[in-house]
Symmetry: D2
Subunit: 337 residues, 4 copies
């Protein structure tokens, strides 16, 4: 950590800060410049414990040097983690494709879609039973009935199932049905929920918050890992910007950033990332070329009747064509679907 | 709602959309332009139910016309709501000032700060017992012990107390101690929690999400109100932008926007809104001039020792001076502190 | 400046960086931490010249310590500058209000509006003769004819005139008519234009770029000042965010930030800042309470016929009422209109 | 266009708006809903001319239906344009790669880099002679001497040259040396400059503004095309967001959006788009997979000595390796380098 003193700081101010740092167990190194004096502080404390030094007299600002995450960091574990979900592995040479409807609506819709995505080559099935919706007047999900249908769809297709959990009280129930738990974007900083899924050992897919930095996102993973569950996969799903042509702005460079900073596998969701089905195919191809460790894609047999997110869902035949186009791109970057 | 057809849409596409709208109970009006045909659809359905029409052949986009909120809207109730918390009223001619530490740290810190803010003229006491923190390695709050201290501070000073609730399971406990529940920015779209506080009748302070639109924020209020609790006060606390000079960008115009769209009172938190104590006084003065129905300000006796958010906390003497400066501005806009 | 070395940096990497810093004339101080070694570098070089060190082997990142601006900085000149435009002073105890139409459309429109704003108490007249418009199909301004009309309106009312210049070639012409030159938001980083107005001595109003940081904005002022023109006034006019309820997000805290970092006066434009005339009055009141050194407000006699920005223009009677409401707020913060 | 009337609008308000629309030459269709009346207006006027109707009594808002661009739109020309620059074509089956240093620094630096990128397979050479820099204290470019060196580098390598023009007065000079003119991000809304390059016939590369929407970007192209120059190529180079891990957020979905809305070719610049050389290779691969019509990449022989943008420049050997990896990805999506 570096403490930058104000230009007008007195010698007393400087000494007070140095003394305080030493009390906190830090070694200090002072650099006196023409316009500013800075103090390099070497020690074990977290940034957070030091931020408050900014309130001391004569301090201009605190510059953190270390990254705030540990367990999720690539410095902690240099090799990319391989996270197993049923027979599927995230973080290896193969690139799993998770596909299915935004929400589980009924048996027919789910089974039909599941059969289609299985046939087209998907590795996992997605489908929401608990839906966090912006409006209380819209479809909120089938809840446990939805979970039951997902489990049946797994029996039918052999595809492992991922589904979102929104309430800490439901974690135990969802675990009975799902192979992987999803933390949705709106809950990425719902720390109660993160700790709860951290206490299970079920793999967790952590979607990036709507306006989360990569660092905050890794801190969400850190919460889960610190609670004991190291089976974390990250999912980029677009961030909020001023652009309105797309529902969100898919941050493709987050694939490179996560792979530099963390050992956790990263999946890309071009459906939420763009909000427009016409953009899903090019962004899925791009994600694989960029080195993503997986894809998550919304598929619906009749998007115009979907109870949520119809405009971003692929029809089964479009999804099948995407799978065909993905294979050579995966191969071109040394991977397989 | 307006459906905009693609330039290349066929007569069959148009008829299919019109038929579908009629099935859904809409009256339709067609306007044929040189480049686009649009369909005005008049009916009761929510936007969400219609968004999926975007997936129909020939449809370019759906333009919603009505606002998605009802109970929270000024059209539903033209008069500004007056929300009572103990002897304090939000939404009236008087402007309550909520003050206190970010987090309850211990008895001495809380009581000392409470005494100071009471003496300076604050109307309510704030203090966090459950702290949602970005890092799992930082202080997470005293939990129920913190609540107990808050209740004692209330007895001591007579100030009603507001504190954050982060876990649906804790709502019942928090209600036993607090006069007003706070939904923090990170939980603004934690719908499970919103529904839970909606089932109580305790007043709720809903902070704006880190990157929530005004509309999404009002939808969060709508969740609480629809669950039966109409005692909602909104709190602007800054939004996330590219600017790094401040911790967040305080959206002062949200005061005007909320007062146009909604009947709910709106409070401004310049402490989180700027993240720098030096900016708190000018922004507090500005908020009152803009017409805010309250203020929420962090005060700490020794900010350099604060366990969270030290850099944005006012020392008691700075807070006292702010209160003195606020009074004439309140008077200038026809209100009182 | 601080150089943070990678955890994996070798002793050779460290020595190479230290040697390079010394070649560049820096004194260096090394702090060896458990996880990172950092180098404090003390010297006169600009950040920019050092950024490239990031490309050296073993370097993780460069952390700048000094602000990049000099002439515009409050460290360079502790007292707020007073900038005189005709009989008007920005940066003093009085708060000038600049008012007038977005664009000069014709003699009648301009004179009528000018008479109204003069009568209501405005100190300066605004009006665009060269209009930078997003679309080439919209009104682009009356150009020199507009300048001529502005000069006539000044003779008529005695109000000094500010108008935008968009082309370096026009600076000389505009100076013949206008008392103050405006650099519009879209040209805040048009360095050719900045240098050109810097070569005159005419006061310049520098609007903040659509997504400029406070630091970049001050660097735009620095360009003008370094070219020799120290008569710079800054104007906050809203920044681009995800929020769509307002045209831009008025960054009120920029008033406090600029006043902390710079000695240049700062004016607020709530018309562009919000894009909605109904929000202009509360935001103008807030700006004065926040300590702004001036206001810039769009007024149009018939907003529904305005050739640009009608929705954000005040009718004369609304402007007159605003002026009445501003006076007591200015007084409450120790200033006058 | 659709005019949405306020809930409280009177019959007189409605009639006044309808009459005004008819005066302006519009056909009108009225849809009376339970809560709102809307007016569909069919005619030739631009949105801008109608926006001011928002200032009429009883009008809630104006919803534009048509896109504001014409010449740049895919509706105007369904086939993707092929833009020729020397022997290079943008918009065809081949994907040109533009490479070279950020700034021309001296003969040795430019020629060495040019030889390297030519050998590795680049199709065009880039290099800035006029540099728009945030700080007036940093290297501003070699100006005409830089242009002369670029022309020599072209003779040496046979690679056509693209370079930025920042001042309308310099367009004629730059045309004497360069095969393609670049409009930089900071000048995307410098309409004086856009019109000036529009009056030449030299191909223009239009970089997206730092916070420009796709629509505004296409409007910048429209300015150039309306002035008579249809040889426009677009370049995505990242947008400004809250994320600090990357210098900008590369908006990969802009490739899909531009290709849907416009017939103009689109190039991706992953160097500025990310600001970190380690992210350039994955983003270049992704851009080609997404369907980009070209790449623009910064290469420098000694990034640690670069006078600008060192941290995002590839060393020649890294660039050569990137070219090898690009070829199979291009092939996988049916294109060639």
């Amino acid at each position: 950590m570096v403490v930058v003193m104000q230009r007008t700081a007195s010698q007393e101010d400087l000494e007070a800060v140095v003394n305080r740092l030493r009390e906190l167990g830090f070694a200090t190194h002072i650099s006196r410049g023409v316009e500013r004096t800075i103090i390099g502080a070497v020690g074990e404390k977290t940034i957070d414990q030091l931020q408050r030094l900014e309130a001391m007299s004569g301090v201009e600002r605190i510059v953190p040097i270390l990254q705030p995450f540990k367990l999720a960091g690539r410095e902690f574990q240099p090799e990319t983690s391989q996270i197993q979900v049923g027979n599927v592995v995230f973080g290896g040479q193969m690139i799993p494709v998770i596909a299915g409807p935004c929400a589980v609506e009924n048996e027919k819709q789910l089974f039909e879609t599941a059969d289609h995505v299985k046939k087209a080559g998907a590795s996992m099935l997605r489908g929401g039973a608990f839906k966090p919706r912006t409006s209380p007047y819209t479809f909120q999900g089938l809840e446990e009935e939805g979970l039951r249908l997902l489990a049946e769809a797994r029996r039918r297709t052999g595809l492992p199932v991922v589904t979102e959990v929104v309430n800490p009280r439901d974690v135990e129930t969802v675990i009975q049905y799902a192979d992987m738990l999803q933390i949705g974007a709106r809950n990425m900083q719902n720390y109660t929920l993160l700790k709860e899924v951290g206490m299970s050992r079920r793999p967790v897919l952590v979607k990036r918050g709507l306006s989360a930095t990569v660092e905050e996102w890794l801190m969400a993973a850190e919460y889960i890992m610190l609670a004991g569950n190291e089976n974390v996969v990250l999912c980029e799903r677009g961030i909020r910007t001023y652009e309105t042509q797309t529902r969100n702005t898919l941050d493709m460079s987050a694939v490179a950033a996560v792979q530099e900073l963390s050992h956790l596998p990263i999946v890309v969701d071009p459906s939420h990332g763009t909000g427009k089905w016409r953009y899903v195919t090019p962004m899925a191809l791009a994600a694989v070329a960029a080195g993503a460790d997986g894809l998550m894609i919304e598929v619906h047999c009749r998007p115009e009747e979907a109870l949520s997110d119809g405009p971003q869902s692929l029809r089964p035949e479009v999804f099948a064509r995407l799978m065909e186009r993905l294979a050579p791109v995966a191969k071109a970057v040394g991977r397989t679907l």
